[in-house]
């Protein structure tokens, strides 16, 4: 049963990441496509019944037009019915940045747009941006998580295996790494990057810095594990066969940390996804026009958005299914780890 749960959560996560990777297909529009006539349009949900009460078989959305004297208040335009189609050709995009395509999962025919989650200040489709934003947020979480765990396993293994002065030094440095706020370093890191690299690259580099800086916690865990592991009989036995230190670490100790590392990864990735939100909130996140869950949510701190555009808060909920899945994965891994050890 647990195996099955593990399988399904892993399958969900793979699927969700794939969906983010295939954002071009799932998103009806490009993330940067502006519709300057319709900023802050509220979500347009597909209808089956039109203004006159007639039922249609194919779902459709209405176009919108500005209310008198306002830039951001709209009313549905009953005269512009736009049926929803599936697998339509639309704007060009490239899958994984390689395969050019113009096929989209769904879209509407007609002059207007379908905005399942409304539009933002530039009239950009929020749904498309959430889907594309997943790329940035998940990539950020994954990248930083992998780096943190990787660095943590290396430092933790060495520190736990050698003990003594090496361990003492590593742990003192770890304390410092935990105590220092990374914000300061981020300012430095971001400002040193050349400007001509794209905001996406710049952001990924910044998030990598965060990841590398977060080695301390996984390192402590791995260290504890290695410290107990190096006293285990099979490690002693290997040494009894005359094994070198590097052999013992490579063959016995590091593999033993894998499950802890994997669990840490499943715990850290969500944390880094949230870190991205905080960074964006402070204006240190990914730059325009790239969407991320964080910089989309950051817009909601503006009063007018908060007070009158509730849909702008929705990107804040996007991480929820991922977190549930990641935590389920972490739990399942933890249980598995326990059985194995």
């Amino acid at each position: 049963m647990k195996q099955r749960k593990l399988f399904w959560t892993a399958a969900f996560l793979v699927g969700a990441h794939l969906m983010a990777g295939l954002a071009g297909f799932f998103a009806p529009y490009h993330y940067a496509a502006q519709d300057r006539l319709h900023p802050y349009a509220s979500p347009s949900l597909p209808h089956l019944m039109d203004c006159s009460g007639k039922i249609h078989l194919r779902p459709f959305v209405y176009g919108i037009r500005n209310k008198q004297g306002s830039f951001t208040d709209y009313q549905p335009d009953c005269s512009a019915q736009m049926p929803v189609h599936f697998l339509v050709t639309g704007e060009e995009y490239s899958l994984f940045g390689l395969i050019p395509s113009s096929l989209h999962l769904f879209g509407v025919s007609g002059p207007g747009e379908i905005n399942l989650l409304g539009t933002d200040a530039f009239g950009r489709d929020q749904f498309s941006r959430v889907v594309y934003g997943a790329q940035v947020s998940l990539l950020a979480g994954g990248l930083a998580g992998v780096l943190a765990v990787f660095a943590g396993v290396i430092v933790g293994t060495i520190s736990g295996f050698y003990g003594g002065v090496v361990d003492e030094a590593a742990m003192r440095v770890a304390e410092i790494a935990i105590a220092v706020p990374s914000l300061y370093l981020l300012l430095a890191a971001r400002s040193f990057l050349p400007l001509e690299i794209s905001p996406l690259m710049a952001f990924l580099l910044v998030i990598s810095v965060i990841g590398l800086l977060s080695w301390a916690r996984p390192a402590r865990l791995v260290r504890g594990l290695v410290m107990s592991a190096r006293e285990r009989n099979f490690v002693l036995a290997a040494q009894g066969f005359g094994a070198s230190k590097s052999y013992v670490m490579r063959r016995h100790l590091v593999p033993m940390t894998f499950s802890v590392a994997l669990t840490q990864l499943a715990i850290l990735i969500p944390q880094f996804i949230l870190a991205e939100v905080v960074l964006s909130f402070l204006g240190l996140g990914i730059g325009e026009p790239f969407p991320s869950w964080g910089n989309m949510l950051a817009e909601a701190q503006q009063y007018h958005v908060l007070a009158s555009c509730w849909w702008m808060l929705l990107p804040g909920l996007a991480p929820v299914p991922f977190f549930v899945a990641y935590h389920a994965l972490a739990d399942a891994l933890q249980k598995k780890t326990k059985v194995n050890l």
Binding site: N233, F234, G242
Partner: protein
């Protein structure tokens, strides 16, 4: 108690189990049957022994009787305690039965006591859960029971925490906790297996005494027939979750079933047979292993404390091991045996003294190999069998990968493992097979000296015998010298040429094995006496 007495007078049975059936849902969704149609009954103040090899479902039976099965287990069957149907009790009724009428002591007393609560509190909590006693009265009763289980200073024990007690004391405290409410039935799940022989004898004595004093009904679970035979009226033999035999000792003893017999007796014949094959040690040659004046002191520092504790684990210990010889080291737990072998194997660095291999300080560590007590910890669970055996070769960079695998397979065959098992993980082998695997792997390192650190004590009697036979075989074939660590003296005469008795880090007696029972050294005499006590019935049978 009075109500149960009334009921029991009607049904006349203290415990009746009928058709017990337990299945576990395994992680991969499969169902594993741990207990299959087991039935028995027990009259008040009677005791029933449950005998079986490890994995035969004994512990599942104990948990089922307590209704403490884990959540992935499904139970069917009928259990009546003093006429009440246990599986149908509500959780609050069940709570009232547990501890008051029915109590459990389990395998590992160190794990059965909450490490952060004082003994007194743990016992009085049980008392207070079942009867409305005042604090003072409670303390008195706790004191009383502690005295009854043989503590001399119950007040001190009440304030103590589990880690301050020795293994035997812990088991006694656990016993006090189980018995404080005067239950009519005690389920003892391998209460001896984690104790050293001396303590085993003490606890066994105590149980016998309490059984009489308290009129206790008892279900005693063990893999050790000789210990069981000293306390149980009747016995139930289990095999793979099923009843293999049951009845009085007389009936069991005369059973024709090989399994049932194997659990009780060693066929001394095969052993002596093997010992005849033992090549005599070369006495005049230089010792293959010489340990000179080894001393080792551990310093323990308490967190938050300035004081240091010095534990003198070894004091001026010297050992000489001749080629092809076997030296046994015996002693109570904590006498320094393990430290000695760890120093020899190079896992510890002694403070003083030296370890010489063929006259030189040990150069190649692989020449001295160690077989650990619990082989499951000595084998990396991630490795397959062939990887495990080939590991010493890989480390020594001996031959090509193919050659190494071939050699490993040969070694597996030599120790009696099927070559076709090569891709199994260590966990997929049984205890005895794992010990063979460990041997094969030690041999792969072509050692001169093999240290056997209680290598037999985790195994059932029949398995012990098989491994011993294998050891004797290998001894001859590979020109090995054995350093044999044990607290069980039964096999020594057939095996060792010399016995060293250790106590408190020193060697207090050096003696030939056949003179063990006549030694004048008090430590040796204690060990021999206890062994005799524990295995009294066994000895009887053997003779």
């Amino acid at each position: 108690m009075s109500s149960s007495a009334v009921q029991s007078s009607r049904t006349a049975s203290l415990l009746r189990a009928e058709g017990l059936h337990v299945e576990y849902a395994a992680a991969d969704g499969a169902r594993v049957c741990a207990l299959r149609d087991v039935s028995f009954s027990l009259e008040p103040s009677q005791s029933l022994g449950i005998l079986g090899e490890s994995g035969s479902g004994k512990s599942t039976l104990a948990l089922a009787l307590m209704r403490l099965l884990p959540s992935n287990a499904t139970f069917t069957g009928k259990i009546e305690i003093s006429g009440r149907d246990l599986p149908w009790l509500s959780s609050s009724q069940l709570r009232r039965v547990r501890g008051a009428e029915l109590a459990l002591i389990s395998q590992e007393p160190a794990l059965a006591l909450n490490p952060v609560l004082s003994i007194g509190r743990q016992i009085s909590d049980v008392l207070r859960a079942h009867s409305d006693v005042s604090k003072k009265e409670g303390a008195r009763r706790v004191c009383e029971i502690l005295e009854q289980v043989g503590f001399e200073h119950p007040e001190r024990v009440m304030r103590a925490y589990p880690h301050q007690l020795s293994g035997g004391q812990k088991q006694r405290a656990a016993l006090a906790q189980a018995l404080v409410c005067r239950p009519s039935l005690l389920i003892a799940d391998e209460p001896l297996s984690s104790l050293d022989t001396v303590t085993q004898a003490e606890v066994l004595d105590l149980l016998r005494r309490l059984k009489h004093e308290l009129n206790l009904g008892m279900v005693f679970i063990s893999h050790d027939a000789s210990a069981l035979s000293t306390i149980c009226d009747r016995v139930l033999v289990m095999k793979a979750g099923q009843t293999a035999a049951s009845g009085t000792w007389e009936q069991i003893r005369t059973s024709s079933d090989d399994y049932v017999r194997g659990l009780q007796f060693t066929s001394g014949a095969s052993c002596s047979d093997a010992s005849s094959r033992i090549s005599p040690p070369v006495l005049n040659a230089a010792p293959v292993l010489e340990v000179r004046n080894l001393s080792k002191t551990y310093v323990q520092r308490q967190m938050l404390s300035r004081e240091k504790f010095e534990i003198r684990a070894l004091e001026d210990v010297s050992v000489r091991l001749m080629p092809n010889a076997t030296v046994a080291v015996i002693g109570r737990s904590g006498s320094g045996k393990s430290t000695l072998v760890r120093c020899i194997a190079g896992f510890e660095i002694p403070d003083k003294g030296e370890v010489l291999l063929e006259g030189d300080p040990v150069q190649k560590r692989s020449s001295v190999q160690m077989i650990f007590q619990d082989s499951s910890t000595a084998l990396n669970p991630r490795f397959t069998a062939v990887q495990l055996v080939a590991e010493p070769l890989e480390i020594a960079r001996a031959g090509s990968k193919k050659e190494r695998i071939e050699r490993a397979l040969d070694l597996m065959a030599e120790v009696g493992l099927e070559k076709s098992w090569h891709s199994r993980n260590a966990a997929e082998f049984s205890g005895g097979q794992r010990q063979r695997l460990a041997l094969a792997r030690a041999l792969a390192a072509s050692p001169k000296v093999l240290i056997l650190d209680e290598s037999l004590s985790g195994l059932d009697l029949s398995l012990q015998e098989q491994i011993l036979k294998l050891l004797l075989d290998l001894h001859a074939r590979h020109n090995l010298s054995y350093l044999f660590i044990s607290h069980d003296l039964r096999f020594l005469p057939m095996f060792a040429q010399q016995v060293l008795v250790m106590e408190a880090g020193r060697i207090v007696d050096q003696i030939a094995p056949n003179k063990l029972w006549t030694s004048s050294c008090p430590a040796t005499r204690l060990l021999t006496r206890v062994n005799q006590q524990l295995h009294a019935r066994h000895a009887e049978v053997h003779s």
